[in-house]
């Protein structure tokens, strides 16, 4: 129930008291009239009608009074309630308004009563509240500022932490590096005069001196005397100029053991970049040096061997030439005299003698062939190579002329690609083609020989091929065919000494080429050989 209602209600209560009193008064008045009438008992004095009208008029009057006073009291009550509730209402509004945060709002203090005092107190409170709010704002701002600072601080701290981590890692790395260096390298430091002021463990260990023995000494203590004086002069002149000297030094340990070190010596600079001493880092390379030495030795050995081989090859060739040449003379005698024997005594002795003579002649003739071939073979190597422009097509045409009879006899058909002009020993290349084409005809199968001489240019060399449709070669034998006097067939079937391909191989190799075959038994063989292209070659 609002204050206003309570007020109106209380005022109305107050108003009822006089009304009740008035009513009582009127009622009492009315009662007196009645009593007086009864007491006088004079029927003449007051009739019933008069009494009734009297009562009615009193009743009406009191009703009017009652309503008027009720109305007046209501007006008064309402206006009084108004005077009390208006400031309260204002107070309520103000409080709500201030409560919403409008601390600058001031309540209108109209009265000096409780409401006025409450308003005043409220204004005071709002004022205080405003002050407090103002300082709260300040505080918030301060808090903001501080949190920003805190954030920055945190960030910086993190950065610092990171930096510190990095620094720690770097330190760790440096330590690891130093450890690694100490594990692998000999480190020493000297002063300007070269007196040792620091040595690490590996240095001490390999030198077999104690650290105490080394400190204060110069590096001559481990000098092996291997290097000339100028070697160290050069070292000193380099490092005293502030440069780093690098080189390999052979040192001597206390017990006389020698060890090689790959050495770098450089200056240690102070803050003003002045040389204050020298640091040397050495790696033990004794094993490598030994390896180098043995490598060098074995290289030398190889060179010597190659040289010896070359000499012995030359000697062998010379020997083959001389031997076959000198063998020719007595062989000529043997051959001549068995022939003479046969000529003059055949049929004059017995049959056995004739047979023996025949064997002797056969042997002598074969030996003559072998010696001739051996001579031809050794000539390929011993004769000076005369390199000149060689038109291979022309060579083939000439060869076909030379081999005309053989070609006709065997009904061979020989074709060839357009062949290049190469730089070579013409005579030898002619012999090479002659050997290969001769072979192709000789080892023909049942078919009519078809031979093709081809050429391809591959990188820096000509790849020639001589292809036939002959009996073919078992590839298992392909290594043997190029060896001197190696034959795959009996002499009766295919005559020859087995020199042709050996000579061919030698010719190709003398021209820095390679020779090989591709073949299928019964289907033919292709001989390939390469000749490097040198300036002057041209393809036609």
């Amino acid at each position: 129930m609002s204050i206003r209602l309570r007020l109106i209600f209380s005022l109305l209560t107050i108003a009822i008291v006089p009304m009740a009193f008035t009513s009582l008064l009127l009622f009492t008045n009315l009662k007196g009239v009645i009593v007086k009438n009864f007491i006088n008992e004079s029927p003449s004095l007051v009739t019933n009608e008069v009494l009734l009208s009297e009562i009615n008029s009193i009743g009406q009057l009191s009703l009017i009074i009652c309503f008027v006073s009720l109305f007046l009291i209501l007006i008064i009550a309402v206006s009084m309630a108004q005077t009390i509730s208006r400031p309260l209402k204002l107070l309520e509004f103000g409080v709500k308004f201030v409560g919403k945060g409008n601390l600058d709002y001031k309540l209108n203090v109209e009265s000096d009563d409780e409401v006025g005092r409450v308003s005043l107190a409220f204004n005071q409170m709002a004022e205080n509240l405003k002050k407090v709010t103002a300082s709260k704002n300040e505080l918030n701002k301060e808090i903001d500022r501080r949190s920003k600072v805190e954030f920055l601080l945190l960030k910086r701290t993190k950065e610092l932490e990171q930096l510190s981590t990095t620094l720690t890692e770097e330190k760790k790395m440096r330590e690891a590096q130093r450890n690694a260096l100490n594990n692998t390298a000999l480190v020493s430091e000297t002063d300007l005069e070269g007196k040792i002021v620091y040595v690490n463990d590996p240095f001490v260990k390999i030198s077999k001196y104690t650290e105490k023995e080394l400190l204060g000494q110069d590096h001559r203590i481990i000098n092996s005397g291997y290097h000339p004086h100028s070697f160290f002069e050069n070292l000193w002149s380099t490092i005293s100029q502030g440069k780093v000297w690098k080189g390999e030094i052979r040192n001597r340990a206390k017990d006389g053991a020698l060890y090689w070190v790959d050495t770098a010596i450089g200056p240690i600079l102070d803050d003003e970049h002045k040389v204050m001493g020298y640091i040397s880092i050495r790696f033990i390379i004794t094993d490598r040096k030994q390896l180098e030495k043995s490598l060098k030795e074995s290289n030398q050995e190889l060179d010597q061997q190659a040289q010896r081989l070359k000499i012995s090859n030359e000697e062998l060739e010379q020997f083959a030439y001389v031997a076959s040449h000198d063998l020719q003379e007595p062989l000529r005698m043997v051959n001549s005299y068995v022939k003479l024997l046969e000529e003059e005594y055949k049929g004059k002795l017995d049959k056995e003698a004739d047979k023996y003579i025949h064997y002797a002649i056969d042997g002598a003739e074969r030996m003559m062939l072998l010696i001739n071939d051996l001579l031809a073979f050794s000539r390929v190597g011993s004769q000076r190579k005369e390199v000149k422009k060689t038109d291979c097509s022309l060579i083939l045409e000439e060869l076909f002329q030379d081999l005309k009879l053989v070609i006709q006899e065997n009904k061979a058909s020989i074709t060839h690609d357009p062949l290049p002009t190469i730089m070579s020993d013409e005579l030898q290349v002619r012999q090479l083609f002659q050997n290969l084409i001769g072979n192709a005809i000789k080892f023909k199968g049942d078919k009519r020989p078809e031979i093709h001489v081809g050429v391809e240019r591959e990188n820096n060399e000509w790849k020639f091929s001589v292809r036939d449709n002959g009996i073919g070669i078992d590839l298992k034998q392909s290594d043997r065919i190029f060896v001197i006097f190696q034959r795959l067939h009996s002499r009766d079937k295919y005559p020859g000494t087995g020199i042709g391909l050996a000579i061919s191989k030698k010719i190709v190799e003398r021209h820095n080429g390679r020779i090989w075959i591709e073949s299928k038994l019964g289907q033919g063989t292709t001989f390939f050989f390469t000749i490097p292209i040198i300036k002057g070659d041209k393809y036609e």
Binding site: Q328, E329, L331, R332, M333, N335, S336, Y337, K339, L340, E343, M368
Partner: protein, 145 residues
């Protein structure tokens, strides 16, 4: 041309085997010949000059000269023959087993009349000797002695 006259041949050869073979070959030839053999260079020149034990020797119509000889080599003999006016017209056939190019060149430079390598085969040898004789005594005109 030889008109059935006996021809004198000087064979300068130290190898007895070759001497026999050459004689054998010459025997088979149609030309009548007289073969005299000396075994070294010194003797060859003695013979040609008609000195010492060869004082009665007739100057040969042809010299068959080997190059590999003891004492004085074949080329030295050749050099002297071709330098001496009274000997230089005698044809000298080099008959040797050497096939060395330098021997061939040297021989011709010293005016050898021809250079022949002894064939290894006996039949060929006989043939070659016959041909030498046939050429020099049947085809070629030689100056009078």
């Amino acid at each position: 041309m030889n008109n059935g006259k006996l021809v004198d041949i000087l064979l300068v050869e130290d190898n007895a085997g070759d001497v026999v073979l050459t004689r054998k070959a010459l025997e088979k030839s149609k030309v009548l010949n007289n073969v005299n053999v000396v075994e070294d260079g010194e003797e060859a020149l003695e013979y040609l000059y008609g000195r010492g034990k060869y004082a009665s020797a007739t100057r040969p119509d042809l010299v068959l000269l080997d190059l590999n000889l003891p004492n004085k080599g074949g080329l030295d003999v050749l050099l002297e023959i071709k330098e001496v006016d009274e000997l230089k017209q005698i044809p000298v056939v080099i008959l040797t087993s050497s096939e060395a190019e330098r021997d061939i060149v040297k021989s011709y430079k010293l005016h050898a009349n021809c250079y022949i390598q002894k064939p290894v085969d006996f039949k060929q040898f006989v043939d070659v000797v016959k041909r030498i004789e046939g050429f020099w005594f049947s085809i070629v005109m030689l100056p009078p002695k």
